[in-house]
């Protein structure tokens, strides 16, 4: 174990411990709860930043190992990819916590909510730092467990139905994943994630089992990533409160699935082996179907959050397309979308939450003219929506660009066509609400109108996080070549972790690293 390994454990604890403490706080202990919430979130972010500094500046490696069973360890490790996901989670956790505090003001069961919320974040960060499949499986299952209470948080029959479906899907996915991980462990032992995979030597011997396992992994992780036939829990889970939809269904849960697939592709099988097994193309086909299907469904959905959810279904598969392209540039596109999509979608969800909280808007047609009452939120929504469409200079554009370039690079130019259709569909379901919001005439009064008295259009704890993430979504695209941008980072990962030569030059042709 590296001496710094405990830092990883402490990072996990910064959300786990507050979460557990919060469970046992009384409803009225607002200040204390907020202290734990924000303190934990802030501390986590600070620690992760120090980790970043340690990794990048001082070149340290961090890992923590705990023996669970003979030959099977719980391994936490910080590599560039895990740091990417962890940083994303930590940043968005902080933002979402603030948002959630504002959002849930005066609503019941806040202690329970924040307790599970923190558990979810712990699990997500755990997934990020997982150093092997077993560890990832463990945190993945915990994520399932901790998310369910949030989905049913409102306690209505609707939310229960959603919760049931969510559980049905994720538990089955988890079961398949468990079987797959165990099987793989039996075949190859429990090995740490290795860039380029560690199964190459086994393939000739198990040329039947390994592809099957791959399929099982895709199914297992695909449930959370909302891949096509396994997606329908996601739109239903939108009955959850907005912060949940925002952080969990835009970032934590679905990204955990996508992240898992990325790990399996890159660090377990290795892209090359996956391609040799003939697995990348079907996976990409599935992802493409998901992209298109999600978009079409979003188009025909009038409920705002559900529309966003279907959009998530569609967008998360971009990540998978990128990885399945099996080339460095595509990998950059896919991985960077992990971050981009999260930030953009969380923006949109925050906006939806703002609309719902402030004016009681839940459906698209109710958005008419909302831009006049809530211009800032509407602006953020516009930025998020444009980002989803892939309009420059939003973050989504960078993704789309690299996906397109990646597709060309591996000779799969037709994928661009998919991107185009998807962009058009995205435009078809995002632009109408945007236009209606800015230019529509509201035909009736809002079903409610809160927070009118203040200086801002809504509660500051709702507005500021929204604007912050919107700014991030813009900044990640506009300043994509900045050395702290996700793109820069992802390029680093792809070049130095996955050993693709010269990708750096290919991406930042005019910038010397």
């Amino acid at each position: 174990m590296e001496p710094g390994g405990f830092l990883l454990v402490i990072i996990l604890m910064t959300s786990l411990v507050p979460g557990l403490v919060i469970f046992f706080l009384r409803e009225q202990q607002f200040a204390l709860r907020t202290f734990f919430n924000l303190g934990g979130a802030g501390l986590k972010l600070a620690l992760i930043i120090s980790l970043l500094v340690g990794v990048y500046r001082d070149g340290k490696t961090y890992s923590f190992t705990l023996n669970l069973l003979p030959g099977i360890d719980l391994v936490l490790a910080a590599d560039a990819l895990s740091l990417l996901f962890a940083t994303l989670s930590a940043v968005l956790w902080l933002v979402t916590t603030i948002y959630a505090i504002g959002y849930l003001e005066h609503s019941p069961k806040r202690s329970r909510f924040f307790g599970f919320f923190s558990l979810c974040v712990s699990a997500t960060v755990g997934i990020a730092f997982s150093g092997n499949l077993v560890t990832m499986l463990i945190f993945y299952e915990i994520l399932t467990l901790a998310t369910w209470p949030l989905v049913v948080h409102r306690g209505t029959p609707d939310s229960f139905r959603a919760g049931r479906i969510y559980l049905a899907y994720t538990l089955i996915g988890g079961a398949v994943l468990l079987a797959a991980v165990v099987w793989l462990t039996v075949l190859a032992g429990s090995q740490d994630f290795t860039a380029g995979g560690y199964l190459r030597d086994l393939y000739p011997e198990h040329e039947w089992a390994l592809p099957l396992l791959f399929v099982m992994f895709v199914v297992g992780f695909g449930v959370k990533a909302a891949l096509l036939p396994l997606h329908s829990w996601l739109p239903r889970a939108m009955v959850a409160p907005a912060p949940v939809s925002a952080l969990l269904h835009a970032v934590a849960v679905v990204k955990a699935g996508a992240f898992g697939i990325v790990r399996v592709m890159n660090d377990v099988y290795g892209i090359q082996l996956a391609a040799d097994m003939g697995m990348t193309l079907p996976l990409m086909g599935l992802a493409i179907l998901t992209v298109l299907y999600g978009s079409v469904r979003a188009l025909f959905t009038q409920d705002l959050k559900r529309r966003l959810a279907f959009s998530t279904v569609s967008q998360v598969s971009y990540i998978i397309i990128g990885v399945a392209l099996a080339g460095p540039v595509g990998a950059v596109g896919g991985l960077v979308h992990l971050v981009h999509q999260g930030v953009m979608k969380i923006t949109l969800f925050f906006c939806a939450g703002n609309f719902a909280e402030t004016l009681g808007i839940h459906r698209i047609e109710e958005m008419r003219g909302v831009g006049r009452r809530m211009p800032w939120t509407m602006a953020a929504f516009t930025l998020g929506g444009l980002g989803m469409i892939g309009a420059p200079p939003m973050a989504g554009f960078i993704t789309k660009w690299y996906l397109g370039m990646g597709a060309l690079e591996v000779g799969q130019g037709w994928v661009i066509g998919v991107l185009l259709v998807s962009s058009l569909l995205n435009a078809a379901y995002f632009l109408p609400p945007i236009l209606a919001g800015w230019f529509g005439r509201p035909q009736h009064h809002w079903s409610q109108d809160r927070f009118r008295d203040g200086l801002l259009e809504t509660h500051w704890m709702l507005l500021l996080p929204t604007l912050a993430v919107a700014a991030m979504a813009l900044g990640m695209g506009l300043l994509a070549s900045l050395s702290i941008s996700p793109l820069y980072w992802v390029t680093f990962i792809v070049e130095f972790e996955y050993g693709y030569e010269h990708i750096w030059r290919a991406v930042f042709e005019e910038v010397d690293p």
Binding site: G404, S423, A480
Partner: protein, 597 residues
């Protein structure tokens, strides 16, 4: 100087952006009055910055580059001028208490203003924000030094001008807005994919690299053709244009038609890959351009609203420029010259068309024939009156084609006839405008000055930008060759007008506003009526099936539960348990005995 280039270049699109941001931030103040100032950096830059000035912004996008080349410089100047003029015009057109359109704009359902602050129209602020955003895009794309930046500004311009089109929120405006938006999005994605292909081929995204290293990819060319053609009003892709221009407020129409429409052209000039494989692009452009030049005339003549006529005129004029560009692609030897000419033409057209659109706004305030004083000069310039910019432009376009390099006589003829068409259209415009009788209201300086600036600029334009063959064009033959089509158009137009007045005929609406779009729309409506229910029906069918399935599953599950409960009740019975016990003892024994032999 060079140290200031980068911030200066950045400020050209940055200033409107900044102002838009401030405007949005303030929300209700009078900051919108500052809108015209946003063009200052561009104007000054166009004048003062050295040609070839360029700057890199490594952190932005994938390493952004802004540059000022000769064509860009001219365009920048004109564009800035136009935007500035439109901005000033908008102050009077929309803003003042006397504004005619203002009453329409006050649709504020939720006017909530701080007590004490002057009540300001929120729609006004919104208009100016989008106006500034579009301005930023337009100015920026001229400066773009790499594909990414070009695309970004292009998209910014296209998308934010949607806000200008639907600004008035009438049915017409929405319709136009949707059509515009839809086609714009199509254009965006086509442009995007074209760019991806190009950049992938070139291995870099700066325009210089694209020009020098991109292989001629037919697919990329076709995509660019579509993507930019929509903006440029290329013939079958022009559908949005006659809808959007009349729907937008006048200052917006002016920039839409005067400045933004050129973005497509500029894009082609910058991006179209050259080479054997893409020669057909030139052919196509020539054919479509010429068709467009004529179609614009024909369709425009049948219009009865000045802005629509102007829109079709734009289509027609763009057709000319496109044809010029096409020739330049077809005949690479002519390319340098023709490119410059097309650039000049674009500048000319921007100024003239901008002025004309402003005239439409002015027409609502001046009585009767006085309008002729405003509309005359720009209309004539557009028609190519000698010594105007139009004359120089048209001549300049034709002169290189007459050279021996290629047989372009057909093109020349059509070009020439198109000039007649232009004149005809102008006559029709004037006729329509004269017919419109509004109450005379004071014309604020903010509306007349911009017009004046544009007209003066149009007049001065040729003198600042004198190609070496200007002298030659002054000779009689050339003079005539420009004049006779013009006269032809004039005569036909006046005759037609006279006949119509005499007989009291109205112009038949043979070609509706938005020409092909109208039947398409009808077809779409029919399609929707017939098949519109299909998704719903599929959905409800799906729902039904799922419900049935769910019920089946639920029923099955309940059956299983009931069956299991019954079975359990049986298994709890002592006798059953006993039988099972004995059976198991014997069973295990037998299994063991049999399996062990």
């Amino acid at each position: 100087m060079s140290a200031a280039v980068a911030p200066w270049l950045a400020l050209i699109p940055g200033m409107p952006l900044l102002l838009a941001f401030l405007l949005a931030l303030d929300g209700r103040g009078a900051l919108w009055r500052l809108t015209p100032l946003a063009v200052l950096p561009a104007l000054l830059g166009a004048v003062l910055l050295p040609v070839g000035a360029s700057a890199e912004y490594p952190a932005v996008l994938l390493g952004a580059e802004l540059a000022l080349d000769p064509i860009g410089r001219g365009l920048l100047l004109v564009t800035a001028l136009l935007w500035g003029a439109a901005a000033v015009f908008a102050q009077g057109y929309l803003g003042g208490s006397a504004g005619a359109g203002v009453s329409r704009l006050i649709g504020s359902e939720h006017r909530h203003s701080r007590p004490g602050a002057a009540p300001t129209e929120p729609g006004l602020v919104r208009f100016h924000v989008f106006f500034l955003l579009a301005m930023a895009g337009n100015l920026g794309l001229i400066l773009a030094g790499d594909a990414m930046v070009f695309y970004a500004f292009f998209a910014l311009m296209s998308l934010s001008s949607v806000g200008l089109v639907v600004h008035e929120r009438t049915r017409e405006a929405w319709r136009a807005g949707w059509v515009y938006l839809g086609m714009t999005m199509l254009g965006e994605v086509a442009l995007f994919s074209g760019l991806v292909l190009l950049v992938h081929g070139a291995g870099g995204h700066s325009l210089a690299e694209l020009a020098s290293e991109a292989p001629a990819s037919p697919l990329a060319a076709a995509l660019l053709l579509i993507g930019l053609g929509i903006k440029a009003g290329l013939l079958p892709l022009h559908l949005w244009l006659p809808l959007a221009h009349p729907a937008a407020p006048t200052p917006a129409s002016a920039v839409l038609s005067g400045a933004m429409i050129k973005a497509g052209l500029l894009g082609w000039m910058r991006l179209l890959p050259e080479g054997e494989a893409t020669l057909w692009v030139g052919d196509l452009l020539v054919v479509l351009g010429l068709l467009g030049a004529w179609f614009g005339v024909v369709a425009g003549v049948f219009q009865s609203r000045p802005k629509t006529i102007l829109a079709y005129s734009s289509i027609s004029q763009m057709g000319l420029m496109i044809a010029g560009l096409g020739v330049a692609i077809q005949v690479p030897a002519l390319a340098p010259v023709l490119m410059a000419v097309v650039g000049f033409y674009a500048m000319h057209h921007g100024l003239a068309k901008g002025a004309l659109f402003l005239c439409v706004g002015i027409a609502g305030r001046v009585r009767g024939p006085w309008i002729l004083a405003y509309v005359g000069l720009p209309a004539l310039a557009l028609a190519g009156l000698p010594l105007t910019s139009g004359w120089v432009a048209k001549t300049a376009l034709k002169v290189p084609m007459e050279g021996p390099l290629a047989d372009l006589s057909v093109v020349l003829w059509v070009l020439t006839l198109a000039a007649a068409g232009t004149t005809l259209l102008m006559v029709r415009l004037v006729a329509v405008m004269l017919r419109e009788r509004g109450p005379s209201r004071p014309l604020p300086l903010s509306m007349s000055m911009p017009w004046l600036v544009l007209v003066v600029a149009g007049v001065l334009l040729p003198w600042f930008w004198v190609p070496d063959w200007t002298e030659a064009s002054l000779d009689a033959y050339r003079l005539w060759s420009v004049l006779w089509p013009m006269l032809l158009g004039l005569v036909v137009g006046l005759l037609g007008w006279a006949v119509a007045r005499w007989r009291g005929w109205g112009m038949p609406g043979w070609i509706p506003e938005g020409d092909v779009w109208v039947p398409l729309e009808r077809l779409g409506g029919w399609w929707l009526r017939v098949f519109g229910g299909v998704p719903g029906r599929v959905h409800s069918l799906w729902d039904g099936v799922m419900e049935l399935l769910g019920e089946g599953v639920r029923g099955f599950w309940n059956g299983v539960l009931a069956w299991a409960v019954r079975g359990e009740r049986r298994m709890v019975q002592w006798e059953v348990m006993g039988v099972l016990f004995l059976g198991l003892v014997l069973g295990v024994f037998l299994v063991l005995a049999l399996s062990l032999g």
